[in-house]
């Protein structure tokens, strides 16, 4: 096997080290772009046999099935987009004198390290190691969140570090209870936390211990996913981090945390059917309600986008909570759709914030005249993120709603639809006034190919999945539902 798992993890790790190399020109950005290109190619090559032949890699520390492959591809793809956007973004910051080349190379070092760690979360076999990796993502990204080193970003980074560390400590208590419940069932204790082994004996695990364990695990990892009411770190971290990092946190990090919940969800749905699903439904609706309320009230554009991430994580949680094949299909597809759409919104917010020098939506006016390209992307991105057709998010939301109705949860579908409409109204009320009107400020749009490229690719991708879902892609999702979730349906 030429494209093995170690290679996928090594590429961003080596890229990270290369970014630290000092030179006269600012080459770190280019190294990062090349590195993430190579990373994307390698992970596509690794994942192809999984999707085409249904292969499962299970050796050494690693375990990879089609579910891992989906997450791996999303991470590699978004990482490339973020690398591309970072170049344009930090070129501007450097010209403005907001940061030096030295700090820029630190940024790319932490960025690629962060990506490497997130990639390893999706391929690791032992659930104990998974915990360690998720905690490591917090530790590395704290530096990215606090990158600007001013009072606001220091506060956001501190909150992020402390709240996520506490949450994740609870998850570790849960994992040690899972381990305790496997005593007597699994004889070789050194591999007792390996996912395939746990999954194979899931029906014999102790249900009482698993119940408490699942509560702790969903609260713990849920803190990192951004489920309400543990979400308080999320709007601060997303709004204070440099914009490319916000996109990465929102589109990828939350998915990684969700992935850890899913692995335990799969085990627990066999031991105690329906229990984890109910918990996910509760947290899903709580997140949706909190997100709807705060989107209506928000003033800062990046905070609003952060609450929108909470909303979409809530919708995904509801999908898994309903737990029918259609609902799981919908949730997985929605995860992909969100990861493709949210970076567009963050990148436009970054462009606007750089040009206007503020993120306050009330004081941003006249986008249509001053920044026609960004205004276009903002309109398209807003329509995509609130779930209008023909964008991918629409399909995800539509499928989740219809799966709820199919499963007989009429009231659930009704509440969800109501909340989605409130969020729609919130977005329209806040975003569209920014397009018209006029501003006294001197505003220039920063045009360059490198800035336009990630927008074009992402918008193309979300339109592509929304308009024509190729059979191959459809089959991939079907396969994940069948093979990975087949045991619990």
């Amino acid at each position: 096997m030429m494209f093995n798992i170690e290679l996928v993890l090594l590429v961003p790790a080596i890229t990270a080290l290369l970014c630290l190399v000092r030179s006269k020109k600012e080459i770190a950005a280019n190294i990062s772009i090349i590195g993430s290109c190579v990373g994307l190619i390698v992970s596509v090559m690794l994942c192809l046999p999984i999707f085409t032949d249904g292969e499962v890699y299970n050796y050494g520390l690693w375990y990879m099935d089609s579910l891992s492959a989906l997450f791996l591809m999303i991470i590699s793809f978004v990482a490339l987009m973020v690398s591309l956007y970072s170049k344009g973004y930090f070129d501007f910051e450097r010209k403005e004198g907001l940061l030096t080349a030295k700090y820029e190379s630190y940024y790319y070092f932490f960025l690629n390290l962060f990506i490497a760690i997130m990639l390893s979360a999706c391929v690791v076999k032992s659930m104990g190691l998974l915990w360690i990796i998720i905690e490591a993502t917090t530790l590395v990204s704290t530096f990215l969140v606090g990158f600007y080193n001013n009072e606001h970003s220091t506060e956001a980074a501190w909150k992020y570090l402390i709240i996520c560390s506490v949450g994740i400590t609870l998850a570790l208590v849960g994992i040690s209870l899972v381990y305790a419940s496997s005593i007597g069932v699994i004889t070789d204790t050194s591999s007792a936390l390996d996912w395939p082994i746990l999954f194979a004996v899931a029906s014999q695990l102790d249900p009482v211990l698993m119940r408490v364990a699942m509560i702790l695990i969903i609260i713990g990892f849920g803190t990192k996913v951004g489920f309400a009411p543990m979400h308080t770190w999320l709007p601060d971290a997303h709004s204070q981090a440099p914009t490319p990092v916000s996109a990465l946190l929102s589109a990828v990090l939350l998915n990684c945390a969700f992935y850890s919940i899913l692995r335990f969800y799969l085990i627990s749905e066999i031991t105690i059917p329906g229990f984890a699903g109910t918990l996910l439904l509760i947290f899903g609706f709580a997140s949706l309600i909190v997100a709807a309320a705060f989107i209506l009230l928000s003033k800062d554009i990046k905070r609003m986008l952060a609450y929108s991430s909470i909303e979409h994580m809530g919708i995904i949680a509801i999908g898994f909570g309903i737990g029918t094949p259609l609902a799981i299909f919908a949730a997985l597809f929605h995860m992909l759709a969100h990861s493709l759409t949210k970076p567009i919104m963050f990148f436009t917010a970054g462009n606007i914030a750089q040009a206007y020098g503020t993120r306050d939506m009330e004081s941003i006016r006249g986008l249509k005249e001053k920044m026609p390209y960004t205004a276009f992307m903002l309109t398209a991105g807003t329509l995509a993120i609130v779930g209008t057709p023909p964008f991918a998010i629409f399909i995800g939301e539509y499928l989740t709603l219809s799966s709820a109705i199919d499963a007989g949860y009429w009231w659930m579908a009704a509440i969800m639809l109501g909340l989605i409409l409130i969020i729609f109204a919130g977005f329209v009320l806040h975003i569209f006034p920014m397009l018209s009107g006029s501003t006294e400020k001197e505003v220039h749009e920063h045009k360059s190919i490198i800035r336009a490229l990630p927008f074009a690719i992402l918008l193309g991708a979300t339109l592509f999945f929304g308009l024509f879902m190729p059979d191959q892609v459809y089959d991939c999702f079907e396969m994940i539902v069948e093979k990975v979730f087949g045991g619990i349906l």
């Binding site: 032992s126 080193n149 936390l193």
Partner: protein
């Protein structure tokens, strides 16, 4: 030596850890708090040694030594070093006063017993009594993070939680796979260093390590 003897011995040290947690909630000086943390870690290390002797799992000896080196010696040293470097006031000003904190701790212990009660029958190990104790230590650690406002006291709260976690893992399942435990130790160490760095940054940006100033990000 029979099982009952080991059971009593483990219970004694687990109870000592809980009492030290209560003492930590009652302490009003930073240095004292760090020393209480070190002492609690020492109790954890001894407890690990007893569990290792009883269960015969040789990898628990490694945990015992690591706890001794990292949590009893290295981390307290680092915390005291950070404290001196940023020259903070040595008094702890809690949001909730000491009597209130102790009362809340008692509530936490009660909750821990309610949570642990249904699970005790499912546990086959000798330390099953310790589940409620370990949950109490974890909850009190959380309480400390919520009610104390200095950057360093918050990090000690996190460390107390981690101690409770290891107490639980050690007594209900004789530890976890070695590679996982080593990883957790590594993460804790890095977390403390990063917390130290940020405590320094907070001090420089706000002229205080009191995280009460970190209330500016709002809607």
């Amino acid at each position: 030596m029979d099982v009952a003897f080991f059971e009593n011995l483990i219970d004694i040290f687990a109870v000592a850890m809980l009492l030290l947690s209560m003492l930590a909630m009652a302490s009003s000086r930073m240095l004292q708090l760090i020393r209480i943390f070190a002492l609690q870690s020492l109790m954890l290390s001894i407890l690990a040694f007893i569990v290792a002797v009883y269960s015969g799992n040789s990898h628990i000896y490694i945990i015992c030594v690591l706890t001794l080196v990292l949590k009893v010696i290295a981390i307290p040293k680092f915390l005291i070093y950070t404290m001196e470097r940023i020259k903070i006031e040595k008094e702890i000003k809690p949001l909730v006063g000491i009597p209130g904190s102790l009362l809340l701790s008692a509530v936490m212990i009660l909750i821990a017993y309610i949570v642990a009660e249904p699970m005790i029958d499912s546990l086959a190990t000798i330390g099953s009594n310790c589940l409620a104790l370990s949950l109490s230590v974890i909850f009190i650690g959380m309480l400390m993070m919520v009610t104390r406002t200095m950057a360093i006291t918050e990090s000690i709260g996190l460390l107390l939680m981690e101690n409770g976690l290891f107490l639980g893992a050690m007594t209900i399942s004789y530890g976890m796979p070695l590679i996982v435990e080593l990883g957790v130790f590594f993460d804790v160490l890095i977390a403390v260093v990063i917390i130290g760095i940020f405590a320094y940054r907070i001090n420089r940006t706000f002229d205080s390590v009191d995280t009460i100033f970190l209330r500016r990000l709002k809607e």
